[in-house]
């Protein structure tokens, strides 16, 4: 814990990541894609509507689109950035040397995780000027904006932790990637389907006027990032979920609790499994 203030792995990883052309190219293409999308959308809307201005409601649609693009970016990039952090060190044969240094396992894991998080945050921040264009046309409050970014950060941290955990547990980067992407797809897509199925079954089994709450349905909706973002962008979604599940509990709290616990557990497992436990025997 003495070295908490300065994390050598974090600084080394940041240095290596920002030095590579791959990172530069990734950022360049992301920003280009954002610009093409935003300016293309504005141009198309203005052309189709035949007016020379952009309405606040259209600005909100653009904001919603951009939020989902950012969510997609986080969901698909975080596993890719973190699922190879430890396993690639193992494959490159740099891990044994790293593990014989005085750094604690927590320092190594947190350094690896934070460097990936920092890169993705940097990517999101770099897109801010383009994203902020929506403010020019109204329809969005700064709170909407901040809330979306806060939850993006929570998702990024959670899926990043899952990636680092699999990277520590699984020797091969490819397998670790598959496991991390599989988990991501389960939490962001399969939970959505399961929610719909649960609600359908609830409706089919419902008899008379007695309505029983569906905690499972509410839980599935709470842990789905897509549902959470929809509830932010359209407050009616939250009411709809509560109406369907008959559970009066804010989705965002369930989301924070679930992903908070997932993050902590994933980091703890990674820290525990990084080094051999020499104290186990005898």
């Amino acid at each position: 814990m003495k070295l908490m203030g300065t994390n050598p792995v974090l600084f080394k990883e940041l240095k290596l990541r920002f030095r590579s052309f791959k990172s530069f190219n990734g950022m360049l293409f992301f920003l280009l894609a954002m610009c093409v999308f935003v300016f293309g959308y504005i141009f198309m809307t203005v052309t189709v509507s035949g007016t020379s201005y952009f309405r606040p409601s259209e600005s909100f649609v653009l904001f919603a689109f951009l939020s989902y693009i950012q969510l997609g970016l986080v969901l698909f990039t975080a596993p890719g950035l973190t699922a190879g952090t430890i396993s690639s060190e193992r494959e490159k044969q740099t891990l044994p040397i790293l593990l014989t240094t005085s750094q604690s396992s927590f320092q190594i894991i947190s350094g690896k995780l934070l460097s990936s998080v920092a890169f993705l945050l940097f990517l999101i921040l770099a897109g801010m000027p383009v994203y902020s264009l929506v403010f020019l046309f109204g329809g969005i409050s700064p709170w909407d904006f901040i809330r979306i970014f806060l939850f993006l950060f929570v998702i990024l941290l959670a899926f990043g932790s899952i990636g680092v955990m699999f990277s520590t547990l699984i020797r091969k980067t490819v397998v670790s990637m598959i496991a991390t992407y599989g988990t991501m797809l389960f939490l962001s897509v399969v939970t959505g389907f399961l929610f719909i199925i649960t609600m359908q079954m609830k409706m089919m089994n419902q008899t008379g006027t007695v309505v029983t709450p569906s905690y499972i349905g509410h839980f599935l909706a709470s842990i789905n990032p897509g549902v959470l973002f929809a509830s932010f962008l359209s407050p009616g979604v939250r009411g709809m979920v509560e109406e369907m599940t008959k559970v009066d509990f804010p989705i965002w709290i369930g989301f924070l609790l679930f992903y908070g616990v997932i993050t902590i557990i994933a980091i703890l497992i990674a820290v525990k499994k990084l080094r051999v436990n020499t104290k186990r025997q005898k």
Binding site: K2, L3, T6, P8, V9, F11, K12, K15, L16, R19, S20, K92, Q93, T94, P96, I97, L98, L99, T100, T101, S102, Q103, S104, R275, V276, N277, T278, K279, R280, Q281, K282
Partner: protein, 310 residues
């Protein structure tokens, strides 16, 4: 300084290390000799806190590896047999990173890095990317890396493997310098004559068991219980020489040389009786051209000790 007690490592039914016992004093340079898979790297991995032992203990400078692995990491400098480097780092950044990993302050690292690079003759490569260095240079840089926190014990697993002869000589010279600095060094190698030159003690490991341990002359002497002596004589005197030596005590397995100009035999006597044997042969007027004891080098010792083990 180092005490290994009953160290055993099992992978299922396979025993990689079988009750290894070893004691090394401070400043000793210990050479670990053994075939591939004999248990050298397993021992080093356990000592370096990278592998859990099935049973037994390793105590380094009074610290038990099993109980206080973090404290042991400060005491040792480990260089694995195969290692990678971070391709986007320069040599000085590489050392700086590991220096920071040991909690060495920035100012101290700034002073240390040039000194270490000088020690391993890499001053001119200070600002070169590590990935662009040759294999030998990478090995030397890794050695410098293992020294950055001034460890008391150096654990070097095959530090000269894959190096060309020149790079090997350079590595050997660096190790000699480290020996002079008083470091306790454990080194494994297949280049046995090199070990003989720089090691105070040698341990021969085979199938996970330490089958010989001692100084180089001690280990050689163990084998030299039965020396091989070659006596060269003119062709017409071979039969006389053959009948003379056959009758002598301690002589066995006597054979004529393929070239037909001498004989060879195994001899169990000591140096004094060997001198007397030669004197008697001369007295009997056997025209001896040469009387040679076959010198057993470490390679022979290794081959002899481990033969039949497979």
């Amino acid at each position: 300084m180092i005490e290994i007690k009953g160290l055993t490592k099992k992978y299922g039914s396979f025993t990689a290390l079988d009750n290894l016992n070893l004691t090394l004093h401070e400043g000793t340079v210990f050479g670990f000799v053994g075939a591939n898979g004999a248990g050298k790297s397993t021992t080093f991995l356990i000592m370096s806190t990278l592998l859990e032992a099935t049973s037994g203990d390793v105590i380094i400078d009074g610290v038990n590896v099993r109980e206080k692995p973090a404290a042991v990491r400060r005491l040792i400098g480990y260089m694995p047999d195969f290692f990678g480097v971070y391709d986007q780092l320069k040599a000085d950044e590489y050392l700086d990173f590991y220096g920071a990993s040991y909690g060495i302050p920035v100012e101290e690292r700034r002073k240390l890095i040039p000194q270490l690079l000088e020690l391993v003759n890499l001053t001119h490569k200070r600002y070169s990317y590590v990935d662009l260095l040759s294999r030998g240079m990478k090995q030397r840089l890794c050695l410098a890396r293992s020294l950055i926190h001034d460890p008391k014990v150096l654990i070097l697993d095959e530090p000269a493997s894959g190096l060309d002869p020149r790079a090997r000589v350079e590595m050997r010279d660096i190790l000699k310098t480290l020996k002079k600095m008083g470091k306790t060094i454990l080194i494994s190698s297949h280049i046995l004559p090199e070990l003989a030159e720089m090691c105070d003690e040698i341990g021969v490991i085979d199938n996970g068991r330490l089958i010989a341990h001692g100084s180089v002359p001690e280990i050689q002497a163990k084998l030299q219980g039965e020396k091989v002596i070659t006596v060269k004589v003119p062709i017409d005197a071979v039969s006389r020489a053959l009948s003379f030596f056959e009758e002598q005590p301690h002589v066995s397995t006597i054979e004529m040389l393929e070239t037909g100009d001498g004989i060879t035999f195994k001899y169990l006597g000591n140096e004094v009786s060997q001198i007397s044997l030669l004197q008697q042969a001369v007295k009997k007027e056997i025209p001896i051209v040469s009387f040679m004891e076959h010198v057993t080098n470490l390679e022979d010792v290794f081959m002899e000790i481990t033969k039949g083990a497979e």
